[in-house]
Amino acid sequence: MEALTGWWDDFFWGSLVVVEIFFVALILTVLFGLIGSAAKLSKSRVAHSIASAYTIVFRGTPEILVLLLFYFGSAITLTAIAQVFDPEIKFVDIPPFWAGSLAIALIVGSYATETFRGAFLGVDPGQVEAARALGLSNLKTFIYVRIPAMWRLALPPFGNHMLSLIKDTALIAIIGLEETLFVAKQAIGTTGKPFTMYIVVGAIYLGFSTVITLSVMVLERYANRHLEVAR
């Protein structure tokens, strides 16, 4: 335990990076999931096949592969583009924070696509017809009727997606993001105590997972409050 003296604040800042990346990726995941499920449910053949290709590719390949492809791929492309303007430039990359959050959001977004698709299909068609009959536009029906009815159904599996998201943030340390795993590596370099440091990282992630699990429980209670028996 003495080995940890002086590293607590680094672990704290590392955890903060995890939180930041989690929220950025969470927003993107919801976005990709909504777009993907809308495309899968649309009548357009093109949109449907693009969305299918998206879910097949991102659910069928290792997360680390997507991450590395994104980071190194974007770096090589950006460097090539930059060199057109200034041949002196040696290396340009997307910051690991953005490459990483985009990559894990695309991965978890492909799972969310399927979840949202199922949830949209689970919405009672009568409700949508009622909204139509009331003269609500397509957009208004989507926002005021479909989404509130669907998120109740999507919440339990989406809780699992949030857990995957927080756990996937650990991978971003591989491309050099200064989050907890990265801090641990530095701490090991000076203290020579790998077990202690990685256990701390594990404990931090366990804490995050617990918070997410509890939040999902609270959200589920809130979403289903109208179904609770009056006391």
């Binding site: 290792p62 492309t77 077990f195 990685y198 594990g202």
Partner: protein, 231 residues
């Protein structure tokens, strides 16, 4: 920057030399993980608190932390502890391969035991009661009534877990193992052609995912052939 097809043709055979290691990691940890999952399941449904509590803690820890952190704790962390180095497990934990198998097994065991539990809980109570009425002992009821139905119920979820296990084997490349991912990363480090190499290895992983899906799909169909509707 251009897409170098000759490089792809050149490197695919090299990448495929790692497929054996990927398969070894997948099969060994799938089989050992399933055995572990069954033990955990039996402990979990035993109804004895001193068996249930440790199982719940185990599952909570292994599902709540990233697999990458688990791999690092086992590979980099455990050698810090003297009693691990003196133990009989040291020959396994000294090797990166052994560590990867241990980490993947412990991780997948936690997930699979929850899937199995879902299957066991999904078995109709009436069937178990019928078994009891026929005078079958608890053990016989579990083996001849609950287990066959539970296996069929949890097969779809289990196939997803095998796919995510396959994706997790790619993380073995972070502890120096040269599975397909490890080889791909080495080639990228030499050629600096992330698109060509990573996309090729991505295709190989997609094919593996497809094969696993197809295999389990076939099994599901076979196991539920008696419930297929007469069409």
């Amino acid at each position: 920057m251009s897409f170098d097809f000759a490089l792809i043709v050149d490197s695919i055979p090299k990448i495929l030399t790692g497929i054996g290691l990927t398969f070894q990691l997948l099969f060994l940890s799938a089989v050992l993980g399933l055995a572990l999952a069954i033990i955990l399941l039996l402990m979990r449904i035993s109804g004895r608190w001193y068996l249930v509590a440790p199982t719940m803690v185990y599952i909570y820890i292994f599902r709540g932390t990233p697999i990458l952190v688990q791999i690092f704790i086992i590979y980099y962390g455990l050698p810090q502890l003297e009693f691990v180095r003196d133990s009989i497990f040291w020959p396994i934990l000294r090797e990166a391969f052994g560590c990867a198998i241990v980490a993947l097994t412990l991780n997948t065991g936690a997930y699979v035991s929850e899937i199995l539990r879902g299957g066991v809980l999904g078995v109709d109570r009436g069937l178990k009661e019928a078994g009891a009425a026929l005078g079958l002992s608890a053990r016989h009821r579990f083996i001849y009534v609950t287990a066959p139905i539970a296996i069929r119920l949890c097969l779809p979820a289990y196939s997803n877990d095998v796919i995510s296990l396959m994706k997790s084997t790619a993380l073995a490349s972070t502890i120096t193992l040269l599975d397909m991912m490890g080889i791909a990363r080495t080639i990228v480090a030499e050629t600096y052609a992330p698109y060509e190499i990573f996309i090729s290895v991505m295709v190989v992983y997609l094919i593996l995912t497809w094969i696993i899906q197809r295999g389990f799909g076939w099994m599901e169909k076979r196991m539920s052939r008696h419930v297929r509707s007469e069409a």
